[in-house]
């Protein structure tokens, strides 16, 4: 299955990309997606357990993904 992955701020800078598609096996979790990101250049700069959101809602890294999901990897937020 294919999911869309979004990176922001320092994480986008680390991997040099803001959006990419990941191919994952059916039943894959957010952790599986993060593992794939860590194999990319700069991916080693992602923290062990970053904040993530699936389809605009905060999620756990052991959450299962579905085809077409939008996974966002969210650096420490700093609004205000």
């Amino acid at each position: 299955m294919t999911i869309t992955t979004l990176l922001f701020a320092s994480y986008a800078d680390a991997l040099g990309i803001e959006s990419l598609r990941l191919d994952l096996p059916e039943g894959a979790t957010v952790d599986d997606a993060l593992e794939q990101l860590r194999t990319m250049p700069g991916g080693e700069r992602l923290p062990p357990a970053p904040l993530v959101a699936i389809n605009l809602a905060y999620a756990r890294t052991d959450s299962r993904l579905s085809a077409g999901d939008e996974l966002a990897v969210i650096p420490p937020v700093a609004g205000g």
């Binding site: 979004l6 922001f8 701020a9 320092s10 800078d13 080693e44 700069r45 923290p47 959101a53 605009l56 809602a57 905060y58 966002a72 969210i74 650096p75 420490p76 937020v77 700093a78 609004g79 205000g80």
Partner: protein, 147 residues
């Protein structure tokens, strides 16, 4: 009740007007502005970025929670994105309520939850021309020690 994430200058007085009403005895206006020093470094400006659809959703959820929890519909919040100079307002929270205690509490609740949950990031610009995402330097230091 209204919230928005915008790319234009904020107008605190307009937001205050928007929440005021004859049944409200207290109005609280919180204005967050860009300051010149952070962690001992001279800041010259800040770029704000967001995961816009989620930030809009999360901010709307916080305002809805505050409306329910503090029992007033008269809450308006705007957060600005893009490049901001020193003194520019990055966030404005206007709350009006019949009584002051709840108005203060609602205003405080909204800014604290915003800082905790809304996916917005800021990249500070310093006098020496360098730029850095706020909140990540510590993490990067830890990681670089590990390498």
């Amino acid at each position: 009740m209204r919230s928005a994430i915008v790319s234009r200058p904020l107008d605190p007085a307009a937001l205050l007007d928007e929440v005021s009403g004859i049944s409200n005895g207290a109005s609280i206006l919180f204005v967050g502005t860009v300051r010149n020093i952070n962690d001992g470094r001279d800041v010259t400006g800040i770029d704000y970025a967001a995961y816009l659809p989620m930030a809009e959703r999360e901010l709307a959820a916080i305002v809805a929670e505050a409306t329910e929890r503090f029992r007033t519909p008269d809450i308006v919040v705007e957060h600005r994105l893009g490049h901001l100079a020193l003194l520019d307002a990055s966030v404005v929270i206007a709350v009006a309520h019949p009584h002051r205690a709840a108005a203060y509490d609602a205003s405080r609740y909204i800014i604290e939850e915003l800082k905790r949950r809304v996916p917005i990031w800021k990249r500070e610009e310093y006098v020496d021309g360098t730029r850095e995402w706020v909140g990540t330097a510590g993490t990067q230091k830890v990681e670089s020690r590990r390498q």
